[in-house]
């Protein structure tokens, strides 16, 4: 039996298409995209090809896509860039308690700078209600930052409420969406949802690590975080990482049709949920209507890390909470108000198109064995 990788929301295996493209860009097509000569032109072609690929997937213009080093940088650029650009128009920001640390820690910093931040609290199933958004947005709100899909439990946040709330409060607010866990998995159209800024990342969709993008709606002004030689229209200067960006483009091109992929994933996910519930002491933390790619559960009484290592020894890779917080108690599950022992024993499975029903069977067997050997009374 080979390894079983069920930690795809942390990162994914780079697909062959993307790896080949990165190699080609490093060894043959190595020009600087800004160079005027033909070598530069060919590298630039790859860059704009990747940009178009992403723009097409989102239904936006090529020039609304800015490449960054990944989700964290995109989130920082969006949150600080928007807050600073809007500073004169108000100082209130709305976000949720279950955002990724790259948003939450940026918010903490903005609070030190004098911004007032409202954090919306999820209910016990990890959901935020539209009504909470309407109550939170005021005429002084300059930014609403909300993730599309939560990375730990997979819940969808009420994005459609945000533009309505901004319009109703007559707020000048910009709308930022951290779409790292949703990008390439569900159809996501910033135009339809009136999103101004949106963060995406390559390595969650079988692209290379170290590259991501920020969608910045045409006409929206942003204060950059770095200054340099004009690349990415000075929003994110510095010689573009052409190999990684081209690899990102190749990974997007290799994505299966969104509809068919979702169906297969829904089948895999519901099979997984059903098999997990057959085990005594297992409770699901992801609600029924979460994104099928993520299943968070607590395995009664056994500390998450202990179980994780037990599974890891069998080459089954899962995550405890989010990989970014390396074993720290999950702020998401805590915000949901789950009891301590359920948080302490929570594991997250996250799937990719390469996972199979057999992987789930192996996992369930290993979990059973683990539960019986780790909870054995002396």
């Amino acid at each position: 039996m080979g390894e079983i990788y069920l930690d795809n929301s942390s990162t994914t295996m780079v697909c062959r298409e993307a790896a080949d493209k990165v190699m080609e860009m490093m060894t043959d097509n190595y020009g600087n995209p800004s160079s005027l000569h033909t070598k530069g032109f060919y590298a630039e072609q790859e860059l704009s090809g990747a940009r178009q690929e992403i723009a097409d997937l989102l239904g936006v213009l090529q020039e609304e896509i800015y490449f960054t080093s990944g989700g964290t940088e995109s989130n920082n650029l969006a949150v600080f860039g928007a807050a600073h650009a809007m500073r004169r128009r108000g100082n209130h920001i709305v976000t949720t308690m279950i955002e990724h640390p790259s948003v939450l820690n940026s918010m903490a910093q903005l609070e030190k700078e004098g911004f007032a931040v409202t954090y919306l609290k999820p209910d016990g199933s990890g959901k935020v209600k539209p009504e909470q958004v309407f109550r939170a947005v005021t005429p002084h709100t300059v930014l609403v930052s909300m993730m599309c899909v939560n990375n730990e439990v997979g819940t969808f946040l009420p994005l459609e409420a945000v533009p309505a709330a901004i319009a109703a409060a007559k707020a000048p607010a910009l709308f930022h969406v951290d779409a790292v866990q949703a990008f390439g998995k569900i159809p996501l159209k910033p135009g339809r949802l009136k999103i101004d800024l949106m963060s995406v990342s390559a390595h969650k969709i079988h692209g290379p690590k170290g590259v991501g993008a920020l969608y910045l709606r045409k006409g929206v002004h942003l204060v950059p975080r770095a200054y340099g030689g004009g690349q990415e229209k000075n929003i994110r200067p510095g010689t573009e990482s052409a190999p990684l960006i081209a690899g990102f483009g190749a990974a997007v091109r290799a994505l299966p049709e969104p509809g068919t992929q979702m169906e297969a994933m829904a089948r895999l996910s519901s099979y997984c949920r059903q098999r997990l519930l057959e085990i005594d002491g297992v409770t699901l933390n992801s609600p029924e209507d979460a994104i099928p790619y993520i299943v968070n559960f607590s395995a009664g009484g056994v500390r998450a890390e202990t179980m994780l290592h037990y599974l890891s020894a069998k080459e089954i890779y899962v995550s405890s909470g989010s990989a970014c917080s390396k074993g720290k108690a999950s702020h998401v599950l805590a915000a949901m108000g789950l009891p301590h022992d359920r948080i302490a024993s929570s594991l997250r499975l996250s799937f990719s198109r390469y996972n199979t029903h057999e992987d789930i069977d192996e996992l369930v067997n290993a979990l059973r064995e683990g539960l019986s050997s780790l909870t054995k009374k002396p």
């Binding site: 032109f41 213009l61 539209p130 309407f134 533009p163 709330a165 319009a167």
Partner: protein, 391 residues
């Protein structure tokens, strides 16, 4: 909830007997733009076009495309229900839920095109209003300045509920006005000129002058990308790229320097006209705007105009640069236009071009050149590229 796009026709409803021709062209253009997205039914009744998605079709993308089709005054995304009061009530509460939750005041407007429906428009509005007040107790009715207007239409094929209508691209359907050839550089003006004439129903052919090796592939690429953007409105078109360096070198070598630009432009008109005639176009289009640069003074335009026997349409002639830029931003060509690549007009510019040229001196200067064969060579060597609209 089943969603469709309802399209209200533009000024062509004012046409008389040939209105059918315009409607047919519009339907054809809508189908042509939506077909690649897969799965839309397009039908028309009572001055309204209904675009219905089949299973799994991307309605967001369709809305985006419809907003760029000429001949459409306004359109809306609407929710379709049976022509029954209960269904209408339920749909008005659900379809606009986020907006209704966020709003403080609302009103209901009803249009009843189907006169067989038992309730009259005001009665429908009253019932819907009452129901919404019950479902959303925080709302109040404000008929003068509501936060949101809920629109109900009862028509031939069903009842429709929608919010505010979106503005269409206006104009008249492309293809109803004949064909014309746009002389396109890589600048801000010519794409706007092309768009403006497509808006009045013209089908476009494009002619671009390139000067390799002085200009780069990037400059030609830029023109392709610009036209692909214009194509979102005008539909696909043929682009002829004319190798122009030899003509420029000849003019440079044999004519007075201060007349260079004007003689070059006269060549462009003549080459453009030849290609246009061959491609069955009846006019040329340029992006000239009076007084913008030395070659666009009235006197200069008199001199270039004389070079072509075809009518030359100059839709931007009376516009300020800022007005042109505003349109180019709106049609998303501006960001591409300002990319800084050398084009054929910038490679050999005289230091002091003449602003008040006289036609006779131009004609005399051109005596030094073998105009006919230079022009013929350019026309023969023009390369065809098919430009497809951006997706």
């Amino acid at each position: 909830m089943e969603e469709i796009i309802l399209i209200k026709l533009g000024e062509m409803v004012l046409k008389g007997l040939n209105r059918n021709v315009f409607e047919a062209a519009l339907i054809r253009n809508i189908k042509r733009r939506l077909n690649p997205l897969g799965g839309f039914d397009v039908k028309t009744a009572q001055s309204t076009v209904y675009v219905t998605p089949r299973e799994g079709a991307d309605l967001d993308a369709a809305v985006e495309r419809v907003s760029k089709i000429f001949g459409i005054a306004a359109f809306s995304r609407a929710c379709v229900v049976k022509k029954e009061m209960n269904a209408i009530l339920e749909a008005s509460a659900e379809y606009l839920k986020p907006e209704l939750l966020a709003a403080k005041s609302f009103k209901v407007e009803t249009k009843r095109a189907d006169k067989i429906f038992p309730l009259k428009s005001p009665e429908i509005s009253a019932q819907v209003g009452e129901y919404l007040l019950e479902r959303y107790p925080h709302l109040c009715v404000d008929v003068h300045d509501p936060d949101i207007t809920v629109r109900v239409e009862v028509r031939d094929f069903g009842a429709y509920v929608h919010g505010p209508a979106l503005k269409g691209a206006g104009g008249i359907p492309v293809g109803t006005g004949g064909n014309a050839a746009i002389l396109i550089s890589g600048g801000i003006d010519s794409p706007v000129a092309a768009w403006t004439m497509a808006k009045r129903g013209l089908e476009l052919t494009a002619v671009h002058f390139a000067s390799p090796p002085y200009t780069s592939e990037r400059a030609e690429q830029k023109v392709h990308r610009l036209l692909a953007r214009v194509g979102e409105y005008s539909g696909r078109m043929n682009l002829f790229t004319v190798p122009f360096a030899k003509v420029q070198e000849e003019i440079m070598a044999k004519c007075p320097e201060d007349l260079f630009t004007l003689i070059m432009r006269r060549f462009m008109m003549r080459i453009g006209e030849k290609i246009a005639r061959r491609e069955s176009c009846s006019a040329l289009i340029t992006g000239e705007s009076l007084g913008q640069v030395a070659s666009q003074t009235l006197q200069a335009i008199v001199c270039t105009d004389q070079a072509s026997e075809m009518p030359v349409l100059r839709p931007l002639i009376g516009m300020d640069k800022l007005e042109i830029i505003e349109i180019s931003r709106r049609i998303n060509t501006f960001d591409i236009s300002i990319e800084p690549f050398e084009d054929c007009c910038t490679v050999f510019t005289p230091k002091h071009p003449r602003t008040q040229p006289k036609l006779p001196e131009l004609l005399e200067a051109e005596q030094a050149l073998d105009c006919e064969s230079l022009i013929e060579e350019c026309v023969q060597n023009a390369v065809l590229t098919k430009i497809y609209p951006n997706q």
